[in-house]
Every structure is written in C-alpha cells, then in structure tokens.
C-alpha cells in the first residue's frame, strides 16, 4: 500500500488544489502514469503515480485544497481490495482543510538543512538569533568583521537594504479559500443552488478584505438638520433646473472629499510595507443590484462641483443597475461610500473595498429628540461610520477624519442652486 501525497511544487508553496483525478477508485495504474492534476496560482501540474497497482482510495475530492504532503490517495497492490469506505456514499473525508492557518511554517526538513549550512559562517550567537528572528539567511549577509565575521551591524545593514528592496514585499499571500466545503451543513431537508459568479467574486473579495485588513469602525452622530432643511427648500427648483433629483449623497461626498484632502492617509493603499498616498480622490459608491452589488467609481470626485457629483452618482447608479458600466468605471477607487441608510439601516460596520484602507457608511437620516442647551429638540440625525484598516489608520486619526466630515455637514455653507 503506498500513500499518494500532495507534492511540494516550490519552496514557498504550502498548499495545492486538486483540480482533476485522471483515475477512479478501482482503476489500475502504472508507476509514473499521470494520476491527478493540481493547481497552484497560475500553474497546473500533472502528478504522476508514485507506484504501480490499483487506486484503492481517493481522499481529496476535486476542487479541494490541502496542505503540501497531505495524503490525497492510496494505491494498493494490483487487484487489491478497494477500501470499502471509499465506495460507500458518506460525508466527504476531511482532508485537513487549510483555511485557518494559511502561513504554514516551512517543512522542518528544510529548516534543518539550512541550520547546517549556516554552520560554516562565522557569527556570534546573538547574530544568529537576530538572523533567525528576521528570517535572514546568513549566507546572504556580507560580513565586515575579521575574516568575514558577521556582526550585529552587518545584520542591521542587511535589514535596511532588504526593506528598501521592493522584492521583499513581493511574497504573494497564499491563496484564500473563500468557499471551503462544509459537510456539516448537509443535514435534514434542503435544496442546493450554485452561487452566481458575482456572489463568488464578492465572497472572495470579502474573505480577502477581512483577512488582509484588520478592520475597526467608529460611529459618529451627525446633525443633518441644516442640510435636510436646505434640501427641502431647493429640491424642486434643483430638479427643474438640472433635470436630476437632489439627494443627500452629494452633501456627504463633498464633505468626504474635503476630509480626505485633510487626511491623506485615509485616501491611501498599502502595498507591502509601503503606503501609497493617492493623489487622485476617486470615490466608489456601493450600488445594490439584484443578487449582489457593484461599486462604480466617481473619478476625481474632489474636482467636481455639487451638481457634477449628483449627476455622476445618478448616472453611475442607473448604468450599474442596467449593467452598462464599462470595466474602467469600477476600477481605480481610492475610497468608498456605502449608503445603506437608503435601506433603513441606522448604522452598520461596512467592509473595506480592497485595496483601499477605509470606507464611509451612511445611516438613514431620521428625526430624533436631541438635547441642545438643556432643551429637547427634534433634529434630523444620521449615524456615519468609518471602517478603516487599523494597520495604517489609528483610532484617533479615524475619529478626526469623521469629525472633519461631520463639521462639513453641520456647518454647510455652499450654495447648491
């Protein structure tokens, strides 16, 4: 009986997806005959059988991702009895799902080999410990001490160079398993429906964003009374003059653009350990569609006037719903706004749209009693949320950003007719 394992197709590869079995349980197979196909990133690989005999068990179904070195099948001697368990319909075996631990440590064998290779290099225990902490191969460090001895300073110099080299940030994230099989859900009476492609894309994107960006959210109460009154007063005339309805969104877009200018770190992306400050302010607006959503982008939102923003919002939303957006109209966003208030939500914690670092959520504008100067007044309120990537934006910065935006709304001065 031989085990067939998920081969390691490269040093940095920790898992692989079985995409196709060329043989079924019970089939005869020759040694080196293609047995299954795996997929890692952009590479499909045929894996030959390690032994001749009969395929007695397939442990990993097609489409499943498992760790390198996991047993994926078993081969018995020619004519061997097929494992009865494999023939009976049962819950798929759990092939050591990978999702929770994507950054699996390298195989211990490799570590041991490197340890030995380092032996010949002259260095102190401190240096070796530093090298280990920073994952540096001492062979790649230039020693400036006597006889090429590597000092602590050499390690620091090496680290500085390494950090500058863009290649250091290039290690790709291991693939995310957005939709792991969940055999535990298959009980009782149920129907099964395939997820639409849009939902799959959204799902993958959401898993990515939750994994890459540690999100936190801050919620501020904004007094929208002044803009609500202004809107009431001018909306009929606005529509008559411009042929578009006046909504609250351009008010918040204006205020958001001003706040983004004041806090460039919110209008940024992270590329490895580099912060990319975007010079353009391109604001994505989440638009709900049947069975999903899309985020068309208002390019150069800070350069548009109030009417221009209102037109852009209406135009993009209409074309999104009619599936007429061009590909470049959903790309290049540097910040996003989700207006879930239009569905009645008071406040929510929206998810960041990668590779952005923040998203503004707008709760419903509603009338509520508010204490002002020890008197109770009825005001139009909105709760606005900023969800942000805590790797680069601190809570204080997030709150200052939202305060800036809030002031923009509460002290609205701009004429809109």
């Amino acid at each position: 009986m031989s085990d067939v394992i998920m081969p390691q197709m490269g040093e940095s590869i920790v898992e692989g997806t079985v995409t196709k079995w060329f043989k079924k349980v019970g089939d005869r197979i020759e040694k080196d005959e293609p047995l299954f196909e795996i997929s890692t990133d952009k590479v499909d690989t045929e894996v030959p059988s390690p032994a001749a005999g009969t395929l007695t068990e397939i442990l990993v179904p097609e489409g499943t991702t498992v760790q390198v070195n996991a047993v994926v099948a078993r081969i018995g001697e020619a004519g061997a009895a097929v494992a009865p368990s494999a023939l009976q319909p049962k819950a798929p075996p759990a092939p050591a799902p990978v999702a929770p631990a994507p950054a699996a440590p390298p195989a211990p064998v490799v570590e041991a080999a490197e340890e030995e290779a380092v032996e010949g290099i002259r260095s102190s225990p401190l240096v070796r410990r530093l090298a280990k902490e920073h994952n540096i191969d001492l062979r790649s460090v230039k020693g400036t001490g006597q006889g090429g001895r590597i000092s602590k300073r050499d390690i620091e110099a090496h680290l500085a160079v390494k950090e500058e080299a863009p290649a250091a940030a290039m290690a790709p994230l291991p693939p995310t398993v957005a939709f792991p099989p969940t055999p535990g859900a298959l009980f009782g009476r149920y129907t099964v429906e395939k997820l639409s492609v849009m939902r799959q894309r959204i799902g993958e994107h959401m898993v990515l964003t939750k994994r890459v960006s540690p999100h936190v959210s801050t919620v501020h109460q904004v007094d929208a009374t002044q803009i609500a009154r202004l809107r009431e007063r001018v909306k009929a005339e606005f529509e008559r003059q411009n042929g578009v309805k006046l909504t609250f969104l351009p008010f918040f877009l204006r205020a958001a653009c001003a706040a983004l200018k004041a806090f460039p770190v919110v209008n940024a992306s992270l590329d490895g350990t580099n912060v990319i400050y975007h010079q353009d302010i391109n604001v994505g607006i989440a638009v709900a569609l049947d069975g999903g959503l899309i985020v068309p982008v208002i390019k150069g939102a800070d350069e548009k006037n109030f009417l221009g923003l209102q037109r852009a919002v209406n135009d993009l939303a209409d074309r999104a719903r009619n599936k007429q957006l061009k590909p470049d109209e959903v790309q290049g966003g540097t910040f996003s706004i989700s207006n879930y208030g239009s569905f009645g939500s008071l406040w929510a914690t929206p998810a960041i749209n990668q590779p952005q670092v923040a998203i503004l959520g707008l709760g419903a504008i509603h009338k509520a009693p508010v204490v002002i100067d020890d008197a109770i007044a009825i005001r139009s309120l909105a709760y606005v949320t900023l969800s942000f990537d805590h790797r680069i934006i601190d809570g204080a910065t997030g709150d200052r950003f939202v305060s800036h935006l809030r002031q923009g709304i509460e002290d609205w001065r701009e004429e809109i007719l």
Binding site: E11, S39, V43, P327, D328, Q331
Partner: protein, 220 residues
C-alpha cells in the same frame, strides 16, 4: 541522441498559427523533452483571435465575443484572450535542470518580461498575489503554465499592439483590472521583432541559457 549543453535553449518564431495547432506542437515537444530527445525550447507565436479558459477558469468570465474561437485548456489561470499583435511565448523547459520550483518559474518569467519592457524604457511591475506583469496598474502580460513531470508548457502573452477592445469579452484572469499594451504605453508600435528579440535575450539572461534562434522552414 544528440549531445548538447544543458545551458542551451533553442528559440523560434512560428509566426501566426492557430491556437489548436500550437497546442499540438507543444504536446509533441513536451513528450520529446521528457524523453530528452530535445533540449529546452522557446516558441514564439501570434494567434488569430481566440479566447482560452484555464483549468481553474470560470466560464462565466466569458462575457460575449460571439464568433471568436474558444478553447478549454490545461494551463493554470483563468480566462484570457489571444490575438494579433500579442507576442505569445511557450517555453518548453525541464525544471528538473533548473530549480524544481514552479513559483520561482513564474517569478522568473515575470522577470524576463520586466527586463524586456525595460529595454523599451517601460517599468514593468509585479503585483502581490497576481501573477503577470503590470505597468502603472494595468496588466500588460499574462502568464499561465502547465507542468508535466517538471516539463513546462503554455507560458506568457505580452500585449505588443493587441487591440485591447477584445478583452471586453472576458474578465481577464477573473480580475476586473485594466489591460494595456506596449503600443498604448509607448504611444507607438515598438516593432514585433524587436520585442521578440528582447524577450529571447532576457529569457537567456534570467534562465542562464544560451539562446540560439532556429529558422522555421516549415510548420508542423
């Protein structure tokens, strides 16, 4: 068997050939490479309009494009488009004699293309987690590979003067990111042969191979 140096790689430009014919030729060369009858090869081709879907591809990423040939194929990656003006390279290389590492192979192929773009003053870049070569955020070259017993097939597609409108028929590699071409980036046609020669040269540099061109007298 002919004696040859490991460090040699033969390249040839097959001109414009059908995707299916190139696939057949690759399969034949892969089998011969496995039997060690031939050394490493780099084929350059230009395909007539064709849309191909990798094993991981989702057919739903095909958005239209009636009348364009369509192939489901065994390379890695999702859907892509090939067509006139695109330099397609198919290296048939035995990775056992190189690094036995498919990720390093992908990175090396990107390195080849970045080097070639550099010869034209373009700054090609990688994007973390997204194999391919990008210039200022737009994808200029796609990569998809098949490996059988460490012998490679399929390869890369570099947009030289590709009519980018054809990419509207697909979601390239499942990514909703812009695509671009050297022509668009440079504001003019850099010349197919100059680009091809640059890629061959860079391939030799990155893979440490001595590149020799073979004139194609007749196509299989």
């Amino acid at each position: 068997m002919v004696e040859r140096s490991v460090a040699e790689c033969v390249w040839r430009d097959l001109g414009r050939i059908e995707y299916g014919a190139a696939l057949e030729l690759q399969r034949e060369l892969v089998e011969r490479r496995k039997r060690d009858e031939i050394g490493d090869q780099l084929l350059f081709v230009e395909h007539p309009h064709v849309i191909t879907l990798g094993r991981n591809g989702k057919r739903e990423h095909l958005l239209g494009g009636e009348g364009i040939a369509f192939y489901e194929t065994d390379r890695g990656g999702d859907i892509t488009y090939h067509g006139p003006g695109q330099l397609v390279g198919y290296p048939i290389v035995d990775l056992k004699l190189w690094k036995r590492d498919v990720v390093k192979y992908l990175r090396a192929m990107e390195e080849v293309l970045i080097g070639a773009l550099g010869e034209f003053g373009l700054e090609g870049e990688r994007e973390a987690g997204m194999t391919g070569v990008w210039v200022r955020g737009a994808k200029v070259a796609a990569i998809g590979v098949h490996i059988s017993r460490w012998v490679t097939s399929h390869g890369f597609a570099l947009n030289v003067t590709t009519d980018l409108r054809y990419f509207q028929h697909i979601v390239p590699c499942g990514l909703t990111r812009p695509v671009t071409s050297m022509e668009r980036l440079l504001g003019g046609d850099p010349g197919w042969e100059r680009v091809r020669d640059a890629v061959a040269r860079q391939f030799g540099r990155v893979f440490e191979r001595e590149m020799s061109e073979v004139e194609v007298l007749c196509q299989t």
